[in-house]
Symmetry: D2
Subunit: 409 residues, 4 copies
């Protein structure tokens, strides 16, 4: 349904052509300074019309805060916000509308609900993600202030154009490679680790593709333009890093950190794949090379020398960078003629009208960041509840040293 999160809960509403889209965010900590601008920044990064790589509709997407704040400070009560839809009138239907768009949600929404919006994507439209991005911006504001948490996503591939392998997340060896060759990379490349450690949103936004490597970005741009010119579309991947998350987040056994993250990411339109840390690649690297050995840092805290785990072990954060990659399929709506069938089974040719994003990944970046922020926030609140409760109990002195946290050397 339309609510995500248990303690930090986001409920979104809205279709592509109704009066407005928006969300109620429940469970935001009280006492947080928050302005519409904090939210608008991310909404504007999500907005169409930012470059010639995205759909030319130029919606302003101004956020209107309705509740939950006074004098720019959160009250702890639900924060409602909305963004008006500029085009609220469903268009007159034409023959085009008699076709469920192949690989779009038209057919399945009708099968599910027995009724569907007459125009556009209805509820399956990407406009729904406005509520998510706004909620994520609120979570991020808190996480940054309270924990210094930083969340940065970027485009890691468009079609077959990938970041150079030194900068890319671990990736599956192609099928039919030398199957018995264990001479695998035994750590993430230093360049990739540096990228995870240092990348900022400003850098990501320097290029319209949101790929932080200019040469690759240029190739991606050409690839997207090629798709656009062919009235076609192309997919891509987004990689995201979350820095400075404290150890201990994640709620085994079903609400493990990566399980919640996968849930959140696969709920974004057009996503088909998710991997965390070494991901599919981690299936090929023998345990002896894949295991992240521990070492004590200057403060006596255990750190790992490598981070194939992507910051998560046993479903719980270990304090290292959390990184993951999401696959977005090529958009379903294309202007090219397609041989398909109408709702009633009549075969025919569909040529979708209107203008569409030939590639969604640049605009997906703030959506990925938002969903990541919401997951971190919700898991932090759950762990805080437990940790605060446990801290009120007297220490137990009779347990063997293998059961309790030892004194640091």
């Amino acid at each position: 349904m339309s609510t995500f999160g248990k303690l930090f809960r986001v409920t979104t509403y809205g279709e592509s052509h109704c009066a407005s889209v928006g969300a109620i965010i429940d469970g935001c900590p009280p006492g947080l300074e928050l302005s519409a601008q904090d939210i608008q920044t991310q909404l504007s990064r999500r907005r169409p019309g930012q470059s010639d790589l995205t759909t030319p509709r130029n919606e302003k997407d101004l956020v209107h805060l309705q509740s939950g704040l006074e004098m720019g400070v959160t009250l702890g009560t639900p924060i409602a916000l909305l963004v008006k839809n500029e085009d609220q009138r469903p268009h007159d239907y034409t023959e085009t509308d008699l076709y469920p768009r192949p690989s779009h949600a038209d057919y399945t929404y009708l099968e599910k609900y027995g009724i569907k919006a007459s125009s556009g994507g209805g509820r399956s439209s990407a406009r729904e993600t406005i509520g998510r991005v706004a909620a994520g911006a609120i979570a991020e504001k808190y996480l940054k202030i309270a924990y210094g948490i930083e969340i940065v996503a970027f485009v890691s591939s468009v079609g077959k154009i990938h970041l150079p392998s030194t900068l890319a997340p671990p990736s599956l060896t192609p099928i039919n490679a030398d199957e018995n060759d264990d001479e695998v990379q035994d750590a993430l490349s230093k360049e990739f680790v540096d990228l995870l450690s240092n990348i900022t949103r400003d850098e990501v936004d320097k290029l319209t593709t949101r790929c932080p490597h200019p040469e690759t970005s240029e190739k991606m741009t050409q690839r997207i333009i090629r798709a656009k010119n062919a009235q076609d579309s192309i997919g891509g991947t987004v990689t995201c890093v979350i820095r400075n998350v404290p150890a201990g987040l994640g709620e085994p056994v079903f609400d493990k950190f990566e399980a919640e993250l996968a849930h959140a990411m696969l709920s974004i339109p057009a996503t088909k794949a998710f991997e965390i840390g070494s991901g599919f690649r981690g299936t090929e690297v023998p345990g002896s090379k894949h295991n992240d050995a521990f070492v004590s840092d200057d403060s006596g805290r255990l750190r790992t020398t490598t981070n194939w785990s992507g910051g998560i072990q046993g479903g719980i954060t270990n304090g290292e960078h959390i990184y993951f990659r999401i696959g977005f399929k090529s958009p379903a709506t294309i202007s090219q003629a397609q041989q398909t069938a109408q709702y009633d089974g009549t075969p025919g040719t569909l040529a979708a009208r209107g203008r569409h994003d030939p590639c969604v990944v640049p605009r997906a970046v703030p959506i990925v960041e938002a969903m990541a922020a919401i997951v971190v926030m919700d898991q932090l609140l759950a762990q805080n509840a437990r940790k605060t409760a446990a801290s009120l109990l007297p220490p137990i002195t009779t347990l063997p040293p293998t059961m309790v946290i030892p004194k640091k050397k």
Copy 2:
């Protein structure tokens, strides 16, 4: 936490060395014939000691049903079940226990809870999945009877040993392939489609690897034995197909079918990656080739000519085969000596005692099937609630034809 599902709810309990592990399954439809044997079959497929590829511990894992049934029929009340742990005594701790196992959950459990089980995996042990497998067996029994739904998982890779590409799920082109080459495969291979359509558990179980291709299976066996001999471990992937799921399941926008599935799969120990349908590969195939065109079948029902979507569009099932792949990392527990640090930061060498699975994917097969069954069951109940409610409303005659299900031609 330890509950999964909203209407069909599974709550598991148990650590590796406590009295028993088990689950409460709430929301099972009343009137279902169910025996311990229905559950035992899947538990035995999960059990260690089935072949020399898995850990030699031979636990019997007999299920004891506690409630929710009378005369072999479900009452609609919670079904509790348990499997006794044979080794309930935590062992005396040794120096080994002073080390958090690299890439295992030891460190993070301690960071999260401030206390951890003295022996074995505790709650992070794969024994926890017994409750899941049992719950899944119950869901499956219902799904098979009521809908003819079939769920079959199999091992699709071990290390770099993959099923032949004609039999494998779509897979990402290697980085640095010819980036502008659009001459992509424009449909799933016929062999893979046949495999999805016909594979049975009996066939899967013929080979101890649970890979249904004898030649590949043999290579996998060798690969696992190599890992075992090297006191090392190796990962792999499991592919799963769900057949005969009705169209309309999935609860947008946050509880889309694939989002719930990803959540369920990434909650299984050692998983790092998930892809559905074309997955990461779908990011490379242009929309014009990736789109699944519609065609009317003999009964007038819309079907797709290809199935890159993996049976899901817009987060909702479309009636085609649902298929997905999960990546399991190489097991963290290995007997090989590892340079690492103790909990207190002291550097040293850890050589884990005991016997461990060098590769978990053969045993992961029934766990994947179980979590898939639980997701389908939960989503079916949600859709039934909606559909039954909507069916009681009078038809609305004033809506334009683009908003309602048309008469079939």
Copy 3:
């Protein structure tokens, strides 16, 4: 938090002085004809300024539908709606604001959140119930069409002014009555049963008190005016009946029908008490007289000859009228001077400014109806999910006759 319901979910937002109050209603069945007017009718019954018994603020409370509908028909997607607050500016604070109002939520909100709205009730304001009433109106529309369900609440007492005992719900014998006298009423009075069976909202609204007995209503009016003139306040009770609910609703063991109903009712501001069916009175009537004997009706369906149970047995509806009573305390905000203390502990005298409802029960009537409708709707969807699932199983022929529904004679 601010969400109620599992399958039919209402999330409300808004404080007394923010931009708007409203709700998102998720899970409404698709295909329901719905207009703003359907909602406005109940909002207007809730609105202040309807008579001289309520606060003279005359807010228009016009509902603005945002999403979830097209051409006046629900899409099955979340329905968002809002009502603008006319007075959005917090007033300049005065000495009055230094006092937490006795028995109001000022102190506890501050303790809970560490911050509170500067003016009025903030989130604890009765304006929050606008979202509930709107959601309830939607639920009711469905319930009426699909099941003929009718929900009618009325004022059953104001202060000590009660409906005549023949018309009142069962009521506790006063303490110190003849303790061993078992000569109790052995059924609900015929007049009360008739009232439950026939009362309509039109009748309830004929009198401004919303008490359906003119003589009692007149006394109540005088009682309220007396409170008003004394700058004081008075409480009362609301009784509600739900007719035509099918047997089988309620989700034991924790989400029994009456448990959900009690939860819903006790979440309404100013409520302190709830009883269903015979309520506290049922503690005094011996089982032999309290038990509702069964009898077969013309259609062969089992009915009860009496209805002390209030339509619920074992937490599940039995098809009889569901009736319950809720106690609303006397409003906390009064203009009369009160000896109390400021937030910082300084003792002093508080005389609240502004105009306040001397008695809330007449306006509480639509709120009670709304929460009742939401509970019925949510429970219906849950039972539909189960029942539809069970109906797909083959009948089991081997069960003894005491375990299954027999053929009717």
Copy 4:
């Protein structure tokens, strides 16, 4: 369904004649010393056969802990526990079984599930409450250690036998009393306040009725024996006090403290009524007398001079004693012959076999305490999550004094 709580979650299972009854308790803080005896104490207070006032079945009800603990300390993982049913064989059915017991759950369970247990109460049996009592005992152990919270319930009435009015919770004026008489009690009686402040479980258990006033207890005993001898039954009320709960618990607007409490209490078998603080009585006392004025205590903390509110204002605890009363109807199962109908509609006479509690309130005492403990625990965890989160934000210096907690004088 069978799970209660969000962060401290109890899932129960079991019918009257299955293998065992029990529960999984998820979310217990780690590091709590806990023994089977901590739980057994309350189970034994709930057990039948404690006196000649209850059913003579003498079940031992020994608890078996399954998981979640090691060396007597909680691990933070789910705690599973079970109590074996001694009589697991359903009896041979007789003519009696052809009758749904009037006012029992037989008929509604069959309507709901289409199948029901062949013997006894099945899932509606009070044996289900064993899981609740065990869970409550765990919550209590934590609450006592961490906060000094004390929860004590006692029997306040049996039939018409009530505690003397000075010791009883506020009670509704009888209908037809002098309606305009405002000369109401303007505070709780000192004796009642003393009782709430000082009553202990030891005192409650001194008398088999669990009524702490010997004279009243003696009358209650006679009343119960009279019911027993008449093969009849009688109801009663239980009053409960929770002491030392910190201010700030309760989650408006739907999960207010009293709403959760009402939900919890009305989920206990045989309950029909709930009131908190002044309850129904609070509807009669004018605001000017009902309002609990504030005063600063020695530590500068605000306290209330009276406590009509029952420790809750605006749905949030204010730090005063929380007290509430629950009505339990007369048990439905009686041995006396009843004119009623069989499942198939055939009229006839039912005389229930076996031995039954003529009055359940003495045994209900630990069940009420348990559900109260579970609610407090769950709400504490939620508030801890919020409070810890808010504490990490920098103070905001620009807010007016009416919005923030002032310095104490």
